[in-house]
Structure formats: C-alpha cells, structure tokens
C-alpha cells in the first residue's frame, strides 16, 4: 500500500547466476525441495559481524529461512518477508505469481509464511509488493522451475528443452512425472543468489535473470482469486497483534512528554490507594506505567500523567505561521537541489517573454497516517537478553536492527513476530510504528512481558506524519496555447524519520535524525518523485529542495514534527501542484483539460487512461471554468476536474465531479471515475478493491486532512479533530481497469489512487466557481475564504 522513499533506486539486474542444486541426503520418507539463498558479490565481505550473524540463521537450509518448498504431496509453501497491510498481495498476487512461474494450480500453494524475522528470507517493507513486475518471489519461483526441469530431465532421460509443465506435471518424450514425485524421498536444496542488507529498508533482493514464463502463456495471472485471510478475519478466527497475550504479561501505558521539546522534571507517583498493583518506570524522559490489568494501567497512567512535571517548550511555528516559516525561516541551502529526469531546454528566457503565464504557489498540509487502531506491541525481554517483539509492522527486519541499536546488541538477539493489524499506509515501513521500543524498555525494566497500547491521542500526537510541502510553479503558453515552458520548485522537509520515538525520548542510541548525508530515505534531500509525462513541452525545469524537519533542531528531544513517508510519498506532494497547474494552464489556453493533456504527451498509455476516464465519467469537452460558473450564493454549483499520474509502472487518471455550496464552502464529491493501466492486471477483484479504497482516502486527503499544531506540539488528538470521510461522504465510484498485457509486466496497484483526487477536485472547484484554490485540504472555511476573493 505504501511506500518507499524516492532516493532509493532499485539495483539493476546483474549477471545471470547459475543456481546450485544439491542433494543433501537420501531419505526414506517425505522429501522436499527447499529454495534457500546465498549472498552474491562483495556484500558477504562487507557485512559487519552483527549482520553476518543474522544472516547465518537464514543461510542454513535446514532452518526454514527459505522461499519455496515443494512437497511430495504436490503442495507448495512460500515465504516472504513482506507483511500484509490489507493489500492482500501476499495471499493473492504472490500465490498467482509463483503458481504461474511453476505452472501449478493456484490452490497448490497451500501455505504463505510471513511476519517473522526468523522464518522469512528477504526483509524489506510492506510496499512495492509487485516489485516493478519482478518481486523476489517471482525470481525465486523461476529458479525453482528451472531446477525442477533439470531434475525431471535427469529422471525421465529427456532433454530439458523437450519438457513442458502443466498443473505440476512435467511431460516430454511420452513420459511424465509430478513435482511431488521429483522431490519424493530426497532432500534437495536449491541455492540462489541474493544481494543487499537484510535489516535495511529494502532488505535483500534476488539477483540474476532466470528464464521466466512468457506473458503470452499466462493462465493464472489475470484472474480474480479471493484473499484467504479475509475469511479468517471476518469469522473472528485470525490472531491479530492486538490479541497477543503472553503468560505473566503486564499491561502498560506511556505518559508521553507534555510537548515535543519537554524534558522530564519529575515523574508522578502512583496513588497506591487506588492502584495498588501499578508501578511507574522511568527511563530518561520516558515514563511508563505498568499494571496487571489493562483498565488499571489506563487509569493509573492518567493519574500519574497528572502528577508528572515537564519543562515547557515552544519551538514550532504553529499552523498559522507554517508556510511563512517554511519560506522565510527554514534552511533550504544545506541539501543539494535535485533535478527532474525530464528537465530540458531553457525555461528561464521563455518564461520571461511568455505570451501567457501562470505563476503560483501550491501548499499541502501535514497529514496523519491515522491507522484506525492506535499502535501497540508486546515485548518479552528474556533474562539472557534475547528479545521477542509481537507487533504489527511493515518492516520487521528493520525494526530488528533498530531495537538492536537501542539495546547496544546485535540483531540476532532480536526476533520480531508480526500479525495482522490496522493499515499503516507507510508509517512503519522504516521499521517502527511506535510502541515496540517502549514495550521493550518496559519489559526489560520489569523482567516480564509487557504490552504497550497507545491511546488515540498518543497515536495522533506522537506518531509521524506525511510531510508538509509547498511548490512554486511558473508556466508559459505560446500563441497557439501550447505549453512552452514549465518550471516547478518543490520544497519539502525530510520526509522520513525512522528513529523509534521511545528510544529517542529515553535518550538511547538510534540512527541519526534526518540529515543531508544519509544512505537511506531519511536524508533531507528532496528527490523528484513524480515522473514527467508531458515530453513535448520544450522547456522543463523541475527542482527539489529539502530541509530538516520543522522543530527538529530546536527541540531538546530532537523530535519536532517528525515525518514519515505515506502512501504515494513525495509524489503526492509533487503531483498535486503539477496537475492542478496543468489544469490551470488548460483554462488559460481556453482548452479542454483532458484534451490539453493528450495534446501535451506522447505516452500512449497516458493517453489511454485519459480517454478511458473521459468515457467513464461522461466528460463533455469544453474549457474551464464552465460558462455559468458562480462563486456566491447558497445553491450548490457543479464542476469537474481531471488528474494524471505515472507511478511504479502504472498509469492513472481520475475525474471528479463535485457540488460546492459557495455560502458554506462545503464540497461534496458526487461522482468519481478512475482509470488504471498497470500493464498486466494480476487480480482484477483485488485491484478494484484496492483502488476504491485509495480513491476514498484521496477524497479524504483533499477535503479533510490537516494536522493541527501550536508552538509546542500537535493538538490534533482524535477523530473529531482529525476527521476522515464517513460513508455519507463517498461518491459513486467507477473503476476502469485497463488490462494491457503487451506492456509485458505488472505495475503497482495500491498507491497513487490516494493522490489523484486532490488536483482533480481543486480543478473541479475552479470549473464550478471560476476561483482557484491552491491549498490542501479544501476545508469549508478555507474554500469560503478563497471564494470571497
């Protein structure tokens, strides 16, 4: 669902590696083919001892740290380091991909193992599941397929290239054998090459270029299969992270500091007359309250919070002065300016002598990931220092590394078990969601398993947020109404802070706060995330400007307003200003906004989604604003707008039709159409559901979401102060899936949908009223103010 930062580029495929297949021993019953991995290249030598120890666990093929098991009964087990966060990919697309590469039925893949650092091979975060068409599991399956063909060739005495496979039966030369029979009574281990750092955000990547099944032969990819975990969740049979109860476990609540810069003066004492079984734990500025029952922990923590004293701190600009602070006070000079891949020509002189020109600034607010359940974790620190963490986390291996850093130990002492939980939309893809580190510290202090549950306000006020940003656009039209030059400067503070907050508050070791030089996504450098689609524009200049997080330098705790990538990270912040500006340019040119886009791109698939969404929405071609646009009165006025995006190999376009009541500023989205071309559609039903959800979240971002904060901290605390859409707020939603197999690959299908609504709704507001609003969210009060100008 969410998210990786943009400064990370995937490794290019390396040389073809020859996988090695070894026969460990002849065994009398059972038998198995286990696909494990070995490290390729210099990574093996580069790893420090901690990493080497971690990897040693998974290198032993007798341990289950492997990808795929072929069993003699023809069933197959797969393992992935990716955790499901509602996308369902591990239970649907991953099964389909493996079944396709191995030419076995979907149902043959009976078991999917994920969510455990000791039982999964590859690490990485819960984002980019489809891996730009080649996720790790696909390559692992392709290597396995080749190994099975080699085995069959030997057993049948038929040349490999004369063999074919259908439903797990290898046939050739009039003979056949099943996969199950090939592995029966043997223990076979296939070793494949991988590269990377297990506990980094990207984890390990399978290397090499094993032959893969041609798209033209696909029979499983492209069909709708149900997500198996939905049944167990719906029937209350699933074990969620929230359900983990360990013997002797205590319940805890954390008393977080009074402000984002407060240090502890004195921790309050428990009123033992009321809460006889509770105790206060203090570690640096971290104050925790533990009790045998959850209700006592909640009440005791509230009482202790009232008696705890903190220093005062004011170091944030507050909402009212946020953009002024960013423009006038933030230091944009330390991070190098980044450039767009599509930059060309010389925009400056063309802008200076433009026939028609647009010059404008666009602003996006801070937004919360706001999982529907606040973060929680259970930790069990054993007497020997071994740590077990039970949580709901998008990047288990990264959390493992972070907890090891905090405890000054090595990752092999930390085991992370992840279970289903509320969607995080990117918040924990860097390894922590909050609560895990606090649970570890409290468990360590009391010598028992501890369950930390954040309350709703903790989650709103002590978690990270999607970064604020603003962009300055200059755009020139020539006499024919064509874009002659486009310049955009994006300004966004560091968008990913992966430090565990409990460790920071406790004053324990963590990775550094966001800085210029960083080998991960936590850098202050603001990369260009939004691929340029309008190639015919002759002069283009896109630039990214980065800085530190707001308050990061001023806070004695070094926290400030911590940011974290959120669904379509960075690209949302860049696509909203671009697409709204393009709609404004169309209006300036007196052109239809969809046709204007089509006329400015040469990308067939971009044109395809634009035409599809034009048809699906019943779009009538004409310039904006509509001829009878009005910005006053208490009667709703209607308008429509469009937006376009390319993300992770997938083209997206959406049309929003809105009704706005000028006197109140209230916007209702009445109809929403979205077209998606991911190349190959892996699972139509699952993609449709993912897109619908993303569409609703996009409307939420556009209309409702803004983190409120004052000079000391975040004041947003619940669903009243941070509203999201209700069922009554959603429009009629039409999803058009464009299955486009000639692309030869499948792009991502969950992100992007949440980013498309905002520029389309803003363009629709302009269409309806003739007024442009260049700020998110489009809350009624802000809309009213714009309509009055």
């Amino acid at each position: 669902m969410a998210t990786m930062g943009g400064t990370i580029k995937r490794e290019k495929p390396g040389n073809v590696f020859v996988p090695t297949l070894s026969r460990r021993q002849f065994i009398k019953a059972g038998g198995i083919l286990v696909v494990g991995f070995s490290l390729a290249g210099p990574e093996l030598l580069k790893g420090d001892s901690a990493k080497a120890t971690t990897l040693k666990n998974t290198l032993d093929p007798t341990l289950p740290g492997s990808w795929i098991e072929i069993h003699p009964d023809n069933t197959i087990l797969i393992r992935t380091g990716k955790s499901d966060f509602g996308q369902g990919s591990t239970f649907t697309a991953y099964r389909q991909i493996v079944a396709e590469e191995l030419s076995v039925p979907f149902e043959a893949i009976t078991t999917v193992v994920s969510g455990d650092t000791d039982r999964t091979p590859d690490g990485s975060g819960a984002f980019d599941f489809l891996g730009h068409g080649t996720p790790n599991i696909r390559k692992a399956a392709a290597y396995t397929h080749q190994a099975l063909l080699d085995l069959a060739s030997g057993r049948l005495g038929v040349a490999k290239d004369k063999l074919s496979v259908k439903d797990g039966i290898v046939s050739g030369g009039g003979k056949s054998i099943s996969y199950g029979d090939l592995v029966k009574n043997q223990q076979l281990t296939l070793t494949i090459p991988v590269k990377g750092d297990l506990t980094s955000i990207m984890g390990l990547t399978v290397e090499g270029n094993p032959p893969m099944k041609p798209v033209s032969e696909y029979t499983i990819i492209g069909k709708s299969f149900k997500n198996s975990v939905i049944r167990s969740k719906v029937a209350a049979k699933e074990t969620w992270a929230t359900d983990v109860r360990l013997p002797g476990m205590l319940h805890a609540r954390v008393v977080h500091p009074k402000t984002l810069g407060s240090t502890l003066v004195s921790a309050g004492a428990v009123d033992k007359t009321k809460f006889p079984n509770s105790q206060v734990i203090v570690k640096g500025n971290l104050v925790g309250v533990v009790a045998p029952t959850e209700w006592e922990a909640i009440q005791a923590a509230e009482q202790v919070a009232g008696a705890t004293k903190w220093t005062e701190w004011k170091g944030l600009p507050g909402n009212a002065k946020l953009y002024q602070h960013l423009r006038e006070e933030a230091d944009w000079t330390t991070a190098p300016v980044t450039k767009g891949d599509g930059n060309k020509g010389d925009a400056g002189p063309v802008l200076a002598s433009a026939h028609k020109k647009l010059s404008a600034t666009y602003q996006l607010s801070y937004m919360k990931h706001a999982p529907i359940g606040p973060t929680m974790a259970v930790a069990d620190v054993k007497p020997d220092g071994t740590v077990h963490i039970h949580t709901h986390n998008q990047n288990l291996q990264a959390l493992r590394g972070e907890i090891a850093t905090m405890l000054r130990t090595t990752p092999d002492h930390v085991v992370v078990h992840s279970y289903p939980g509320p969607g995080h939309y990117g918040r924990s893809n860097g390894g922590n969601a909050g609560a895990e580190d606090e649970a570890v510290l409290l468990s360590q202090a009391v010598g028992k398993p501890v369950r930390v549950q954040w309350m709703r306000a903790d989650d709103m006020q002590w978690s990270t947020q999607a970064s604020v940003s603003y962009s300055d656009v200059q755009l020139a039209l020539d006499e024919k109404g064509k874009m002659a030059a486009y310049q955009i400067d994006h300004y966004m503070p560091a968008m990913q802070d992966d430090r565990p907050i409990g460790a920071v508050i406790a004053g324990l070791p963590t990775m550094p706060a966001p800085q210029v030089k960083s080998d991960s996504v936590t850098s202050t450098v603001n990369g260009i995330e939004d691929p340029w689609i309008y190639a015919p524009v002759p002069n283009v200049m896109e630039q990214g400007h980065g800085t530190f997080q707001v308050g990061q330098k001023a806070s004695p705790l070094a926290v400030g307003l911590r940011d974290h990538s959120m669904r379509t990270p960075g690209q949302f912040q860049q696509n909203y200003p671009r697409e709204l500006a393009i709609s404004e340019a169309a209006a300036l040119a007196g052109a239809d906004a969809i046709q204007f886009r089509i006329d400015h791109t040469s990308e067939e698939r971009a044109i395809g989604v634009l035409k599809a969404v034009r048809d699906a929405s019943g779009w009538d071609a004409r310039p904006s604003p509509r001829p009878d646009a009005v910005s006053t009165g208490s009667m709703p006025v209607r308008g429509r707008g469009v937006s376009l995006m390319l993300r992770s190999g997938t083209y997206w376009a959406c049309v929003c039709q809105i009704a706005v009541t000028p006197s109140t500023g209230a916007i209702a989205v009445e109809k929403y159409a979205i077209a998606v071309d991911p190349g190959i559609v892996v699972n139509p039903v699952q993609l449709k559901r993912n897109v619908e959800g993303g569409a609703v979240m996009g409307i939420s971002h556009a209309l409702f979401e803004e983190v409120m904060f004052d000079e000391s901290g975040i004041t947003t605390e619940d669903w009243i102060s941070y509203p999201i859409p209700t069922m009554a707020d959603i429009p009629e939603i039409k999803v058009v899936l464009l299955h486009n197999p000639k692309v030869g690959s499948y792009g991502g299908g969950s992100e992007a949908a949440n980013a498309l609504a905002a520029p389309a709704i803003a363009a629709a507001l302009h269409d309806a009223t003739g007024k442009i609003m260049r700020r998110l969210p489009m809350k009624p009060a802000y809309v009213q103010a714009v309509l009055k100008t």
Binding site: V234, A236, I372, G423, G693
Partner: protein
C-alpha cells in the same frame, strides 16, 4: 463480580464495575472480534450488539450491561442459526450472511474496523431486510453515536456487501 450474557452463554467476570466492556471481552473472555480503535466511541471498531442494538463497548461500563444480551462478532453465526432454526450441525458450519457477504465481496482491506461494520450491518438488516442505498449510508453514518469509520476507505465494498447479505438473508440461508 458481574454476570454477563455473551453470545448466549452466562459468564462471570471479576472486573471492577466501571471497566469498559471492551477490555472484559478481550482480556477476560478472550472474545477478540471487537477491537480498540479510539476508546472514545468515535469510530465503531469495538462495536457489539446489546439487546440487538449496536453499542460501543469501549465506553460502556461492564456492570451496566449485566444480564443484557450481548453478541460479539464470534456470536453472529449462532445468532443467525437461532433466528433460522438451523440444526446444531448446520449452525457449526455456517457463518452469518453478513460474514458470508463480507467474504464474497472481498470487503476488508486491513479489516481492523470491519468488526464494527459487520455488527452495524447486522443491526440494520435485522430491522430492515432490504435497505436502500440512502438507508445504508444513514445506518453507517448517523444512526449510531458516531459514524462507523474505515481508514482504508472500504465503504463501497461495505455497501456492496450489505446488499449482498440482504440477498442471502432473503433466501434464508
């Protein structure tokens, strides 16, 4: 000591009278369908049926619902079986039509809020066998103490599933 009637079974619990029902269900009775979403009756993740009415267990003191009929997500199949007079064997192998529809329509994304959504759907369909789109939206938005919130944005899939469940219930299986 409070006596509860949960999913048709009498349960004695030792929790203090003011303990919110949610913590008793989850921690004492190991009924994990209801989830902690806000503790403020603002989202619906913790919903249960109390005498057939959708109720936010995160703010209801356990003593206040003593002797009332409480149904959690776990109790929906038996509730349906009782309403339809299914045999014990049939009841064991069935899910409530709302649950069946949630699977058929592939409604959940993360699924964390869906307990409350299914409880709300059950409440609705027990009083209105064929709700209109407007009535479904009204039920999930204004009928309770707060709207039932879904952060993954599955409202379209929920509407599809409520309509599907109504069809299954009309057939009586």
């Amino acid at each position: 000591m409070v006596t509860l009637n949960v999913n048709g079974v009498r349960r004695e619990v030792k929790a203090p009278d003011d303990t919110p029902l949610l913590y008793v269900l989850r921690n004492d009775l190991e009924l994990i369908g209801p989830q902690f979403g806000c503790g403020l009756a603002q989202c619906g993740a913790c919903a249960v049926l109390v005498d057939g009415k959708e109720t936010r267990s995160c703010v209801v003191p356990v003593a206040s619902v003593a002797n009332q009929e409480i149904t959690t997500l776990e109790g929906l199949p038996a509730r349906w079986a009782k309403q339809k007079g299914l045999s014990a064997d049939e009841a064991k192998s069935t899910l409530h039509p709302v649950q069946q529809a949630w699977i058929e329509e592939q409604t959940p994304q993360c699924g964390f809020c869906q307990n409350g959504m299914m409880i709300k759907a059950t409440e609705l369909l027990e009083s209105n066998a064929h709700p209109t789109l407007a009535q479904i939206k009204e039920a999930f938005t204004t009928s309770g103490v707060s709207p039932n919130l879904c952060r993954c944005g599955t409202y379209v899939a929920i509407i599809d599933a409520v309509q599907h469940a109504a069809t299954i219930m009309a057939k009586g299986r």
